[in-house]
């Protein structure tokens, strides 16, 4: 248990790909520079499991209303995917768009999380002690939710892990952490 994984906390879990073209260290260095130069950074992602408008923003606002921040907890994994193209504009609601600052590069992504305080931090995330608090999987245990193609999730930490005999407890080794900041997640479009 640490400051992030504590009962009642909200976190956004995401597997992040490292690849030959850009190592994890390179990504961290690039994003850290973005945050330093802009005041915030954008972490690009895709898929429908963390849609900005219907999942991440409402989830984050619930915790913001309680005075809590959402931690982005990332697990590094090998990936062959390398998104091409650098997004040109971002929007919090998909209606009003603005230019992405020149100091930020989001590559090959439809959406981006708005982050700061990116740093390496190693700890175990017990998925059996988390549940999905938003969307059509509301109430599903994190360990049952994150499997197969599901590689990212909004999660809430429970008081205690679910204890069952059928399956072993499942933990994930987190290696990289950031804080989400308002507007938490944005839509991207265009190419710079």
């Amino acid at each position: 248990m640490n400051d992030i994984v504590k009962p009642g906390a909200g976190l956004l879990f995401m597997k992040i790909g490292t690849h030959a073209k850009e190592s994890l260290e390179d990504i961290i260095a690039r994003k850290t520079a973005e945050i330093r130069n802009t005041g915030y950074g954008m972490w690009g992602y895709g898929g429908n499991t963390c849609h900005p408008g219907s999942m991440v923003q409402p989830f984050a606002r619930v915790f913001a209303d309680r005075g809590q921040t959402i931690s982005l907890c990332m697990e590094a994994m090998e990936s062959n995917h390398f998104g091409e193209g650098i997004a040109d504009e971002f929007s919090a609601d998909g209606i009003d768009w603005q230019k992405i600052p020149e100091t930020i590069e989001v590559r090959g992504s439809r959406y981006a999380l708005v982050i700061d305080d990116l740093h390496e931090e190693k700890f175990a995330l017990p998925l059996d002690q988390t549940r999905v608090p938003v969307g059509p999987s509301t109430g599903r245990l994190g360990s049952r939710y994150i499997r197969g193609r599901v590689d990212k999730a909004c999660l809430e930490v429970l008081e205690a892990p679910e204890l069952v005999n059928e399956v072993k407890p499942r933990t994930i080794n987190i290696g990289l952490v950031a804080k989400l900041r308002d507007p938490y997640a944005v839509f991207l479009r265009g190419q710079r």
Binding site: C50, S54, Q57, F59, V134, G135, G139
Partner: protein, 301 residues
């Protein structure tokens, strides 16, 4: 339940049909049925997740279309929203003579002009005179020119509002039938999660309050292209009006904030009346902004 679904599910006992079928049901050519539904899927606009548009998987669309054609055989059927295009499948399967039964008239009421145009274009291209679509927002009063016999809806599932968004769509379906018909509601059905059970209870309670009863339920039938809940299934909940049922009030706009909170999901109130279609020349083909051509030497002269 129809022939395909009997076959897949091991021949469940067939309930009493609401009206006698005009002809004996012929065996369905499964290949023709799947290919016909494939035509419809090809024509369907891409879903907008922000409005909870989530498409049913194609195999389940085949089964669902046959079941709905069987249930609504010879009747006037209103679809209250239909991003899945089950309406088109039902009509097309009959037109292509894959099914020798089906509704006499199908009208789709949808707030997405892309869906409305896709239905109209398909009906025109395939010469399906009994299939039509009307641009309509479910928050507006439902005043059809003529009442329908039955309705079908696969609405936003109400995970964050205890099924209230489902009830809004059902209310419009009931109004389309003058509160005197039948309906099929497609909603989430899951044994592990709590919210689908609460929604099912809420919807059944709402239906009872409107003078409808649950006449049948087919559990865990359909799967969806839903990345964040790939195992979540839906059921068919069949409703029927009690004898002599009448509406308690004329159809009115829905403005009650309590009914609109969390309509499309947590903190997602409706703010859009219509999704308007952008007119484009490359309708139905790959969009030019998806690709560019790199020519062979001498390939472009």
């Amino acid at each position: 339940m129809g022939w395909i679904s009997d076959l897949v599910r091991g021949g469940a006992p067939r309930p009493t049909a609401p009206s006698a079928p005009p002809t004996e049901r012929k065996r369905v050519d499964l290949r023709k049925a799947i290919n016909a539904v494939s035509d419809v899927v090809q024509n369907r606009p891409r879903p907008l997740r922000v409005f909870d548009q989530i498409h049913m998987k194609t195999g389940d669309m085949v089964l669902q279309s046959e079941m709905i054609a069987d249930w609504a055989d010879g009747k006037r059927l209103a679809f209250i929203g239909d991003g899945d295009a089950i309406s088109v499948c039902v009509a097309y399967l009959q037109t292509r003579d894959v099914l020798n039964f089906g509704p006499s008239q199908i009208t789709v009421f949808d707030f997405d002009e892309r869906t409305v145009e896709a239905v109209k274009n398909f009906a025109d291209r395939e010469r399906i005179p009994n299939l039509d679509a009307i641009l309509y927002n479910v928050l507006d009063p439902m005043v059809p020119e003529q009442h329908y016999d039955c309705f079908y809806t696969n609405p936003p599932w109400g995970a964050s509002n205890n099924g209230e968004s489902v009830n809004v769509f059902i209310e419009r379906g009931m109004e389309a039938t003058g509160h005197a018909g039948e309906g099929v509601v497609v909603i989430a059905d899951d044994d592990e999660l709590e919210w689908p059970k609460r929604v099912l209870a809420s919807v059944q309670g709402f239906a009872a309050g409107q003078g409808f009863y649950v006449s049948r339920m087919q559990r865990k039938l359909h799967e969806y292209h839903l990345d964040d809940a790939p195992e979540l299934k839906s059921c068919n909940l069949y409703l029927a009006a009690l004898p002599g049922n009448v509406p308690s009030a004329p159809s009115a706009a829905i403005t009650d904030g309590k009914r609109l909170d969390n309509f499309y999901g947590l903190s997602q109130r409706p703010t859009v009346r219509y999704v308007r279609a952008r007119k484009r020349l490359d309708y139905g083909v790959a969009h030019e902004d998806e690709y560019e051509l790199e020519f062979l030497e001498g390939g472009h002269e």
